[in-house]
Symmetry: C2
Subunit: 383 residues, 2 copies
């Protein structure tokens, strides 16, 4: 097998794409930073126990493992940066008030999470710690929408869900942990046949509620439907009220918006409103997020938290017509101070100037202009 072949779902990013991703990354980090999100950069590799704290077995299977030669312990390559950033909030910054953090870096997955997806997403995201109210959820959601707009993605669709609806039904039914896990997995997979079969053993009110969930997808009418037909538990009523508020705020900002009360996708650690953004040309969600108030607990400090993340590679793939900026060709002349000055000036203005080297085999490509000497002056001329 030729040694330049890459593993499946692993790719090089070549100049036009790399340039586009770099610019996207910068504009998003800048946008997050002016909103008060402080940049952090957790390591690529940590002990497995740290990376798995507060998350489920999905993450364990997605994570490459290696032995630490210095301690003999097992380390994992991060598959998600959210738990790492929560660890930084809980342990390192240790601030009592509201903390806003952002990050942008590669994560690795043992297997691709979708048919078209890379095993090396470039995860960018933002998190707010230390605030319980819906205002922080709204700040995060607005920020996600604005970041997607900045990237050039338009006609956004947003799906909203709330983990407390399912949790409320389960909690009041006193189910075993095993049965809860099974129902969770079935609903995540939207497998209604399996749902019907498992629900048979449950009491009627629980069964009716669970079987109703997959139908509760659509516009704000389904919130009224849910209020009418789901059990009248306090946490469910609160969840529906929160969804209504979030829906009203975000609706004017996007093309379409829907509620999905069976949506338990995403992270195992969510506790409140969850959301996903979609766009034409991509069947997978292009950005995901939600509230997860418990994650810091395993690091010694449970803090209310809400955040979003997305994959810059996937996002960049949705944008068409990317190209690398063209340069200006310059001749190689030793000790021509005027030429040197002109080149420096052009570069300081942000132009790409490529000096041809002596005895080059081919003329420099990637240029649409050149520097020529006319009447004793170096000027830029179209090619």
């Amino acid at each position: 097998m030729p040694n330049w072949l890459l593993p499946e779902y692993i790719e090089d990013i070549l100049p036009a794409e790399a340039y586009h991703i770099e610019m996207l990354r910068r504009s998003m980090i800048d946008h997050l930073m002016v909103h008060g999100y402080r940049l952090v950069s957790p390591p690529l590799i940590e002990f497995v126990e740290s990376l798995l704290s507060g998350s489920g077995s999905d993450m364990d299977l997605q994570m490459f493992k290696v032995i630490d030669q210095l301690s003999g312990r097992m380390m994992g390559l991060r598959a998600d940066m959210t738990p790492q950033v929560a660890r930084i909030d809980a342990h390192l910054l240790n601030c009592g008030g509201v903390t806003r953090l952002c990050y942008a870096n590669s994560v690795l997955h043992t297997v691709p999470s979708g048919l078209t997806q890379t095993r090396e997403p470039l995860q960018i995201g933002a998190e707010i710690y230390g605030h319980q109210g819906l205002e922080s959820d709204l700040e995060i959601q607005r920020l996600m929408i604005r970041c997607l707009e900045l990237s050039g993605v338009n006609k956004l669709h947003i799906d909203l869900g709330h983990v407390a609806v399912f949790r409320g039904i389960i909690k009041n039914a006193n189910l075993s942990q095993n049965l809860e896990d099974e129902l969770f997995a079935i609903l995540q997979a939207k497998d209604t046949t399996a749902l019907k079969s498992v629900c048979k053993v449950l009491k009627k009110s629980t069964r009716d509620a669970l079987l109703l969930l997959p139908e509760l997808y659509g516009d704000k009418i389904i919130l009224q439907e849910a209020k009418k037909r789901l059990p009248p538990h306090k946490e469910i009523a609160l969840a529906l009220e929160q969804l209504d508020r979030v829906g009203k705020t975000l609706k004017p900002l996007v093309e379409t918006l829907a509620f999905d009360l069976a949506d338990l996708r995403g992270y195992h650690y969510h506790t409140g409103v969850v959301f996903a953004a979609y766009s034409n040309g991509c069947s997978n969600a292009i950005a995901l997020g939600g509230r997860y108030d418990e994650i810091g607990k395993s690091y010694g400090r449970a803090r209310p938290a809400t955040g979003f993340s997305m994959d810059l590679r996937e996002l960049s793939r949705l944008i068409e017509g990317k190209s690398y900026p063209m340069g200006i060709r310059a001749p190689y002349l030793k000790n021509d101070k005027d030429l040197e000055l002109k080149i420096n000036q052009l570069r300081n203005e942000g132009h790409i100037v490529i000096v041809e080297l002596p005895d080059q085999a081919e003329i420099t490509s990637g240029c649409d202009r050149q520097l020529v000497l006319k009447k004793g002056e170096w000027i830029v001329e179209e090619l």
Copy 2:
């Protein structure tokens, strides 16, 4: 053991440092790009054979390995990006002329390469492919020096060496590969006792030349000394001539410069002039590079190549007094259009504006100004 403990030589980058590294990274990438170096981003993970192509066993030991669940083959986490970028030049871009590429991303090492060094360097570098002459070496060296200056490092010291000096002595002595490898390792470690002992079995001219190498460290006088006392092989004479030219060009650009003819440090694949930059406050080289004309061969296309790389983390550590930019605190007011407008305007100008959330436990930190309403107008006031 607490689950927030990180493995040795693995660290979080917290906001002040992360911000500094981000800005450093951007200014260097911009600098490389305006010089015509096109940005590429090879993957974190590849098949081991690809990553080891053209490099030695050092790299093999430095590389974490994992099994690819999709192919059953062994993959490595890159410990160096240079071979990856050479693969991109040789196979993907496949351009006949001169190609300039740059990159900036994390690499991982199984063990730290120095006492103070991280196992996760942030490697940034630039390479020229397809040009044999010393002009491309000089372009790369000047670029490296300028990048280091941009980062705020000053009082640079440059060490220059040339692999052909040692190779010339060995080639003309007809040594076994084993003996050559042993001598190489001994010279790399600058272990003169071992050198004396191994040299005993060699013929006098080879022995004298090898024993002389560790002494050939210093200013341009040692080039004359080398010319006089080393065997009169053509490749050695050419190497000394090249070192002289490079030294003359770089001397005015740095604080001090020395030649080191026993310097075989760095990569196993070097073939020509090699160089290293040092600065006060760091005993390790802060940037390294050299010519390596053979590396593309294993990917099907040997191309002349020269380049440099450095670790942005290490570099950032040398700079003192880093701080995160301070923000402007703004109150949370629903539907105050004037306030919203003012906040957007400030953020567009690049200011950090942090909106306080309702019922925050503590006042927002990290701000030195605030937005206040005075005579019906929102103005920024010092705190």
